[in-house]
Symmetry: C2
Subunit: 168 residues, 2 copies
DNA sequence: GCAATCTCGGATATTCCTTGTCCTGGTTAT
DNA sequence: ATAACCAGGACAAGGAATATCCGAGATTGC
């Protein structure tokens, strides 16, 4: 058995992927899109997808309308919704690296007043996460839709729009 | 109950923090440092810390020597060990975002030959992770040690070295 | 106005991973 | 030879992510 470290690196819930694809889909619809319909489109469990859509709703990215013709729709143009906002809405705003304040333990523990400033390790990790966040903040849902359309030579968004319009 | 999304964001195992602090400690010692000693210094469970140190050893960052005066020591200068290498050694090299190829499912599923290129969502997340990785690659363990020393006005590394030297 | 129907929303189980411990075997210095 | 250390795996416990269900509320059509 020559397997190397199998432990997983920092992990992102699959809800992030679902949420982003759903945002792209919603951006192509005129009216609201229901959770059941989005689940069918992407082939994912409806009840679970609903949970992530609710998170988007709580974050104010989409607005939900009840009733027979209800569903989810954007509150603002897709060009003004960044990927970061969607990711943080679904997975929460907490950083990946959580400092345990290891320097305050053990025989060489630092006094509390010496720990006002975060430690160098924590700062290094925070810097990297800021770079990650800025990269995601620079991409909008509209950008994603445009790129997907380019990848498919213009057919993807057309097919998507027609599917969303038909078969209510 | 007016609580907002409490779900956790992408998560990094606490072994990352331990591994980085241990690397800083090892860098300040002349001889090898044993796992039990590192655990005592940082106030963490020895058996569990040993697991992460073994990961560092497998990755070739440190070299372990058995025997009464054994322990862990760097294989190369601390200035040539990046934070990224430590993080990936402990937590694995896999990306945080795992594309499920959602576009190949549902009624508008794309054909396999149209999925050779990763989808736009996956590319966006990969770009952000690259930025994260580059930020971590630009910081070395020696840098960390230097910054910790600055934070403590020069006492931290001195105290650390003397603790490592004494009380074998 | 009223009922039916469809929607969201939160509370609830289940599975999996992370955390943590322990034990056996192998290697080195005294 | 003995003692001290590392390496790796088996194993248990806790918690988070996954997945599902049922109730509350709103809109449509009559």
């Amino acid at each position: 058995m020559s397997e190397i470290a199998r432990v997983l690196v920092m992990k992102l819930s699959n809800g992030v992927e679902w949420g982003l694809h759903c945002c792209v889909s919603i951006s192509q619809s005129d009216g609201p899109v229901s959770a059941a319909r989005l689940a069918e489109l992407h082939g994912v469990p409806p009840s679970y997808l609903a949970k992530h859509l609710q998170a988007l709703s709580r974050a104010g990215i989409v607005r939900s309308t009840p009733g027979p013709v209800g569903g989810y729709a954007f509150t603002r143009p897709a060009a003004e919704v960044s990927v970061l906002q969607v990711v943080q809405a679904v997975d929460g705003p907490e950083p990946a690296f959580r400092c345990t304040e290891i320097r305050r333990r053990g025989p060489l523990a630092l006094s509390p007043e010496r720990c006002e400033k975060p430690c160098a390790v924590s700062r290094a990790m925070a810097t990297a996460e800021t770079a990650w966040r800025e990269a995601l903040a620079g991409i909008s849902v509209a950008d994603l839709a445009g790129r997907i359309d380019q990848d498919s030579s213009g057919t993807a968004m057309r097919d998507l729009r027609s599917w969303l319009a038909g078969a209510p």
